[in-house]
Amino acid sequence: MVTERLTEFDPSRIKDQALRDLCNVLEGVRGKKSLVVDQALAGPLGLIAQFSLLQDYGVVQLHWIEDNNIDYTASKNILYIARCTAKNAYSIASQIKNAPRVPGQDFEHSLFFVPRRTPLCDRILEDEGVFGDVTINEYPLYFIPLEPDVLSLELDDAFEDLYLHKTYTSIFNSAKALMLLQQQYGLFPRITGKGDKGKRLLDALMRMRNEAAAEDASTSMALAPSSLIDNLIIIDRETDFVTPLLTQLTYEGLVDEIFGMNNSHVELDASLIGNAMQTPADSTGRSVGAPPAPQAKKRKVHLEGTDRVFTELRNVNFSAVPGILKKTALRIDADFKKKDDCKTVSEMKTYVTKVLGPAQKDRTSLSMHFNIAEVIQKHINTELFEKTLEVQQSLIAGYSSTQQHELLTELIARGASLETVLRLLCLYSTVNTGFKPKDFDLFRREILQGYGYEHVLTLAALEKVALFQSRTVAASAASRTNYDYLRNRLKLFSENVSESEPNDIVYVYSVYAPLSVRLVQCVIQKSEMAQAAKGEKTLGPSTAGWKGFEDVVKNVGGKTFDELQKAPQNMLTAKMILDGQNEKKVTVVFFLGGITYTEIAALRWIAKKEEGRRQIIIATTGIINGNKIIRAATADAQTKPAPH
């Protein structure tokens, strides 16, 4: 496939392509159809298309595969869209087998696997005896742009897959997605990264590159190093579990912590939203024919960059939020007043379209964010939240731990949520290289008595991920992140950064700079980082990769890599003539295993500093937070008797 080489990084192309592909999927089945979707895909699909589009393409009803409740009277065309997992293949096979058989009225089953059709699923359908009854295709949905600077695979189970089950399906999918970027923009000239799973991803990428090069001659031109992208930085979540375990303190981070965000959508009480926002937010609603959901009080809202009010709020520390809300309110007020300046009809017309419309939209959005901020404020004023924050901040500051023990046991006794407590315990274990055996026993008992004995399973899972360990085990692990060393070397902890006008990324957690983002800075902001650690010689602008920070990466757990992808010299020059030399380089930062909103905010803060020199594109397997990590571990303990 010869693709034209692009001279600008444009994620909207990816979205357009995804939408076009979706339309083709829907068009592939003639007439009215029932759409049956894998629940894990519902959110991602909602980011690509509105529900009304599905209706335009003849979808009369929408079901989840998991519910197994297709209404066969609505249409004789059943269209499945599902991730290519064995579980889905089995469920679909059993549904097809159990479809009612009406003589003379055959159901047409079509199945689109996302992102690809695999021999595994074919085999399962074959074994289950339905292979001949269904038309199988694929819908190559990989990256979905959440924002112009954020690409996500939206894999909900990437964390479990990578660190708990260690089945690594998401590594392959990530590699495929990154290969697609390389096919469009050329090879990443340099791949720098950290972490064992990150290394696996690098290996997979290298292998795919070689295979693509061996594939046929026509792709080789596209697979010359990119002149647009200068570096791919891979950060394995495993190298920095501390960051997601902490409570995020940016506005968007807190919305995620308190309300929980999924696929950029947050579910809110209708009372918080106000009136006008409700209609566009309903894109991922349930089936058309089904009666309105009983808990109609909840509404899904898509939080994204087109909302101007939200854009101003999302990345700032919450303590700066009231000020911005007030400023925005004044600004909107001023916008409304502008109508007094209009003299002529044409001026009035411009006012109505250019100023009034957006201002009205802003006003609705503002009232919603006022409400949200109020709820957040109430939440962070609670004693429990304060205590939690206190424990977190003293742990990352490296202060002595007896007092934290006290606080932790108190939190358990007071019935703080399991997520909160486990996040703190895991944080403790990670920062201090495990618990002393005595404390380890103590806290395990506290958890089991406080939250139920079934959490034996949770503790086992956390131990497997190396989040909650005894020091005897943790110390024997080959490479662990040494926070005591990094705290000073990378200035991870600092109490004198302004939260409203920050001069360092520390602001996202008020006192802590995410290690993951610091590592990115070690690659792209060498001089700033060197200055931060005083007494360092300044580094020339030409240094790249981990150079200058070898000691840092040595003290971070997991494998380190820094790989160059070169092209033959003659091809290089030819390409340079073809593409011209871009002044502004794009750096792609890939977070394997998920990224938090605070890290995105920190990276955006850096991107702003680097504006004009560099564009930062954030790519990831999905958005994550501490609660999601803990929930991955508690899943087994939630096992319930099957309903009858």
């Binding site: 007439g31 699923c121 085999r123 001659a217 108190e410 004995y453």
Partner: protein
């Protein structure tokens, strides 16, 4: 005009203002054979000048030619009559034969089984059209580029959209006017030309026409039937109908408008075939008589010595007879503008100029000057016209003219010229009679050069394919692979030298799929050769399927792991799990962590017994215990639940490093039993499954303090925790008196601040205030604050006085209301003098 070349217009004929030309593409070799008569055969041709399939017309009597030829066979030959393959037919009666755009031959038998011959070597895949077809039989079929529609004996239609994974699908049942109505004729609109983007059928029944698609059947309500032939134009826009009274109607495909009508004058005889020639004329054939109806209903007629077989193309029609293979098309506009008698168009002038030049006549320059203003267009026209010529001499002459023209121009982009020279070289090469492809330039453009290469490869023309690929800078890997596969299949050499030969020849080529070659070797029964070849395949993932069919299980698994594709690994594992004894299977995954994880994870959700076996085998007691623990959670029966817990606890104890967990599970059994008895004693409240802390909290909240105390001692709950839980429980119950009582009786191990806080957040400032004086460990400012929170400013003032903090008092003043104001002022007075 150039000497030695016949005038191109000699093949032209004029009908209603348009010229048509009938070119003889080939004189087939069978024309020499006196014994051969094409009339005995039914003929179908592949589109884009492709191969012909001949089979003996079963409706005719044939001379008996001995036992040898008694077996029916399908003959595949090129347009020059050279045999490409003879396929011996051993299945039932053939009902239809057709070709796909990829030159796959489709043979449909009357019982609905379909064979797709995907190469020209006689290899095929086979599928059935389903039980309906089997029961009612196939009547006839209509083919398009990638699929076909079959009409069954019960007047139902079945369609197949693709041949790589054929899925026969029924169309809607045609709504026949009466149950006895017959289908007189039918045709299809291919998916790429229909509005719905799915195939549609146009069928004639009784007096009318029905349009049938996947969902419905629509009557067009015509009165003039029966229509004996229906033919859809290559662009899907028009339909030609042959009426019962010998007329041809051309109607738009929406059946809105009749565009032209032609009376053949043959009322009694129905033509054997009606097809479109391009998009503006229709050809009718009665055995050896041919009518071509142009636009406006004017017609040309020809008479032949034998039956004429029609093969419609996008830009014309091929007519195949015993004597020759002809191509009929409308003369392309550029060609017409150059060669039409008396044409004074610029390109005609240019052609004339080059004629003068060749004769060294000075008029050449005059001629050029005459057309000077439109010379660029003239050059372009000559280049285009060269492409439409079949005669190499004329191609040269036209290109010469173009070349002469562009030499006069100061600025000229030669890309088109060069491109045309290349195209013509390719066209001429494949039109050579030994290759026998009768393709036009327009067809090549539609077909694409890649597909042309595929056709050449299928004809074993590897060298030509390679030359053309190199010439057009197309990928060559597939040609090499095909060659190697053929070599593997046909070569009589020993395996080592075959492998050496292949590797030697292919080592410098990129992207060679050795897995495909190895597969061919394996299918040929050359297992060792297959293994040798497979080792040259760089893509680990692609080796897997073949390795699996070669039963090289362990290597297949390793290659799958190497490919980093977890789904592929799982695929291999699934296969192995079915095939191998459990112990062998476990041994195989034991030292392969990824495979192990995949089995572990999938078994966890689908096959817990397998998981238990796996852990047992590996002596992973803790994990084994966890599986059982999970089962106990999923268990509703209380006794079974306890039993499972006991088992899990025992396993944990054996593993030694999880004694805490083992003890915890024993504890949980005790707790569950206790909770069960609680439920029996305290009706309407559920306890089973609650955590220990919750249980005590709930008991406190419900007021069962002695029970709570008993459990607390039994489970050795630390004092601090118990106090917290009790406090929360009492606050939740709003048992303020009890709290007060309790706080008097003992010293709190958690201090009194929590008492204050909990009561305050519950809204009881009065009780909360009780605890402020008890908080002796706090600073006076904190206590002042606490009093203020309870709304007792005066009390706060007293605190300040006690600490002799004047500033605090000052700060309190604005917070004071009512009687508190003078109180505070009094206190301030009291403190001030001392300063």
């Amino acid at each position: 005009m150039a000497s030695g070349l016949s005038n191109p217009t000699s093949t032209w004929e004029r009908v209603s203002g348009q010229y048509y030309r009938k070119l003889t593409l080939f004189t087939p070799s069978w024309a020499e054979d006196d014994d051969f008569n094409l009339d005995d055969y039914l003929v179908t041709g592949a589109p884009f000048g492709g191969a012909l399939a001949l089979w003996k017309d079963p409706r005719k009597f044939h001379t008996y030619q001995g036992v040898q030829s008694a077996k029916p066979s399908i003959v595949i030959c090129n347009l020059a009559g050279s045999l490409l393959r003879r396929i011996t037919w051993d299945r039932g009666p053939i009902q239809a034969i057709g070709w796909s755009d990829d030159e796959h031959l489709l043979v449909v038998t009357s019982d609905g089984s379909v064979r797709c011959y995907y190469d020209l070597q006689g290899n095929f895949t086979q599928f059935s059209l389903g039980s309906d077809a089997e029961e009612h039989g196939v009547v006839s079929c209509r083919f398009w580029g990638t699929g076909f529609v079959a009409l069954l004996g019960n007047n139902a239609f079945v369609t197949v959209n693709r041949y790589d994974e054929p899925r026969p699908r029924p169309l809607a049942l045609p709504k026949l006017p009466t149950p006895e109505s017959k289908v007189h004729s039918w045709a299809i609109i291919p998916p790429n030309y229909s509005d719905s983007r799915h195939v549609e059928v146009i069928m004639a029944t009784d007096q009318t026409i029905l349009i049938v698609d996947a969902t419905e059947s629509q009557d067009q309500i015509l009165q003039n039937g029966p229509f004996h032939h229906i033919s859809v134009s290559p662009n899907g826009s028009y339909v030609a109908l042959y009426t019962g009274d010998g007329k041809v109607w051309v109607i738009d495909v929406k059946f809105q408008q009749k565009l032209s009508e032609y009376d053949s004058g043959k009322t009694g005889e129905i033509p054997i075939d009606v097809q479109w020639c391009g998009v503006d004329s229709v050809v009718l054939v009665w055995e050896d008589e041919v009518h071509m109806v142009g636009p406006n209903g004017a017609a040309l007629r020809w008479y032949y010595d034998s039956r004429v077989n029609l093969v419609p193309e996008m830009d014309g029609i091929r007519m195949i007879t015993t004597e020759k293979c002809e191509f009929l098309q409308r003369v392309p506009d550029v060609t017409r503008s150059i060669f039409e008698f008396g044409s004074a168009s610029p390109p005609a002038g240019l052609l004339e100029a080059v004629g003068h030049l060749e004769r060294k006549s000075p008029k050449a320059d005059d001629a050029i000057q005459l057309i000077r203003p439109s010379l660029p267009e003239a050059v372009a026209a000559c280049v285009q016209a060269a492409g439409h010529e079949f005669d190499v001499g004329w191609q040269k002459q036209l290109l010469k003219a173009a070349s002469f023209g562009k030499s006069v121009l100061e600025l000229y982009n030669s890309d088109d010229f060069v491109e045309m020279c290349k195209t013509l070289r390719v066209l001429n090469a494949v039109r050579y009679y030994e290759v026998g492809l009768g393709i036009t330039m327009d067809q090549l453009e539609r077909l694409t050069p890649d597909k042309l290469i595929e056709r050449l490869v299928a004809r074993q023309e590897h060298l030509l394919a390679l030359r053309i690929s190199d010439y057009l800078s197309l990928p060559t890997d597939k040609i090499y692979i095909h060659w190697a596969c053929m070599k593997v299949k046909l070569s009589a050499d020993d395996e080592d030298s075959i492998c050496k030969d292949i590797v030697q020849k292919l080592k410098n080529e990129r992207g060679i799929a050795y897995d495909a070659i190895a597969k061919a070797a394996f299918e040929e029964g050359r297992g060792r050769l297959a293994t040798q070849l497979l080792n040259h395949e760089p893509r680990a993932g692609r080796q897997v399927p073949l390795l699996m069919s070669m039963e090289e299980d362990e290597i297949a698994l390793d290659k799958a792991i190497e490919s980093s594709d977890s789904d592929l690994v799982f695929y291999v594992l699934l296969h192995l799990k079915k095939k191998l004894p459990v112990a062998t299977f476990f041994r195989m995954i034991n030292n392969r962590p990824v495979a192990y994880s995949i089995i572990e994870t999938s078994a966890k959700y689908q096959d817990t017994e397998l998981l238990k076996d796996l852990y047992y085998q590996d002596d992973r007691k803790t994990d084994g215990a966890n599986v059982i623990l999970r089962e106990s959670l999923a268990q509703e029966n209380f006794t079974t639940r306890i039993d499972k817990l006991k088992l899990a606890s025992k396993l944990l104890k054996d593993s030694k490093d999880h004694l805490i967990e083992a003890a915890a599970l024993e504890e949980s059994i005790r707790l569950l039993t206790l909770q069960e008895s609680l439920e029996r004693d305290i009706f309407e409240e559920s306890f089973v499954g609650l955590p220990l802390n919750e249980t005590i909290f709930k008991l406190t909240r419900l007021g069962f303090h002695p029970r709570a105390n008993k459990i607390r001692t039994e489970f050795k709950m630390p004092d601090k925790r118990f106090w917290w839980i009790k406090l929360r429980g009492l606050v939740a119950k709003r048992e303020w008196a009890e709290i007060e009582e309790w706080s008097k009786s003992k010293t709190s191990p958690i201090g009194w601040e929590p008492f204050f806080n909990e009561c305050l957040s519950a809204g009881n400032t009065k009780v909360a205030a009780i605890f402020i004086p008890k908080c002796k460990n706090l600073s006076h400012t904190e206590r002042i604050n606490m009093w203020v929170q309870c709304g007792m400013v005066a009390k706060a003032g007293e605190e300040a006085v006690a600490a002799r903090d004047y500033h605090a008092l000052e700060a309190l003043l604005p917070k004071a209301t009512g009687a508190a104001i003078p109180e505070i002022q009094r206190m301030m007075q009291k403190l001030r003098p001392s300063r």
